[in-house]
Point group: C2
Chain length 203, copies 2
């Protein structure tokens, strides 16, 4: 794929535009982490990559389209980043390592937590994205749970009952962690919850 030497300014080659796009997306993620989407300006993103606002608009014609591109980029990372695995060889075990990987990228977590919050408001451009993503993620979790333990988990819950809880724990812990990184151990807490799901009930 990529075949272009990259430099912030002045390097010429065909792929210059594409490199710029990626720079812009990275900058956008940072700015959104700092100010949210509604609170951030495309001018701020542009400045971060050494462009004018209009220069940025050359690549992303509207602010909303920039956001969509950020969202899409995240999906690409999620599916392409990890060892193979577009589809379905996830286990509860490497779900924890995913959380671990997330914990290493606080700005990314901050960005998407901020967007998640905004997305519950009316007519938010990320609303549809999170709506779909939740549906999909719950389904994924459900099938992971089923693959690990079958329809009924050791703890007595069904996979369908546990899936939304699993998603909720991941999201919810992130907020606490963002507010007090020292007070909340993201990975340990998540592992504790997974342990809870896998504990066989007595009686």
């Amino acid at each position: 794929m990529s075949s272009a030497p990259v430099s912030p300014n002045g390097v010429r080659h065909g792929a210059r535009g594409r490199a710029r796009r990626e720079e812009i997306l990275r900058a956008a993620i940072e700015v959104i982490a700092e100010r949210g989407f509604r609170g951030s300006s495309i001018a701020a993103v542009a400045e971060k990559v050494g462009l004018t606002q209009q220069g940025l608009l050359h690549y992303f014609p509207t602010k909303d389209e920039l956001l969509i591109a950020v969202l899409r980029q995240r999906d690409e990372w999620d599916t392409g980043d990890s060892p193979e695995a577009a589809g379905n060889d996830w286990t509860m075990g490497n779900l924890a390592t995913l959380v671990e990987a997330n914990a290493a990228r606080p700005e990314l977590i901050r960005t998407f937590s901020a967007l998640l919050g905004e997305s519950v408001t009316e007519d938010h451009p990320a609303g549809a994205y999170f709506h779909d993503r939740y549906r999909g993620t719950r389904e994924d979790m459900e099938s992971i749970l089923r693959r690990e333990w079958g329809e009924d988990l050791p703890s007595g819950l069904t996979a369908a009952q546990a899936a939304p809880l699993l998603v909720a724990v991941m999201d919810g812990l992130q907020f606490q962690w963002l507010h007090e990184p020292e007070a909340v151990d993201l990975v340990a807490a998540f592992r504790a919850f997974v342990g809870l799901l896998g504990t066989r009930a007595a009686e």
Copy 2:
């Protein structure tokens, strides 16, 4: 010296003014639910109560102070609304009824979920509030758990381990519920989680 109630900026308000203030706070909650805090304008809030923007600023001298007042109001509701219970007679049981009560006020949930999301961004006026609130809520949950089950829960977790999970589940479920009310049963899911905590581990 008079003894009339005083607003943050030192303006004294009579009975009429106090009623107005409450109206404004209610309207502000609605507007924030629709647009978030950064996305909403004080003019929109003012219009909702039939004031001009300047009229509103008579009561709350800045947008930030309006938000602070909203936050404070919520705390007052939380501690004053429910049967007695400023302090500590909560149990796991009526924690679930609290969730139930929340589920009946979607706009309120929406408002505070939106604010929670924004609050992770830099210099957000609600940042300190959520920071403190998380700390306090976790402590409260911990002591409730301890009162219910002692230091070690039936499931094997300690109260300190379970508290952040409890908070995370409440927050996280709300986001899913706001995006798909039909797909997520807030109360049932929460009860399932509580059941999980209280399940005795085998062997």
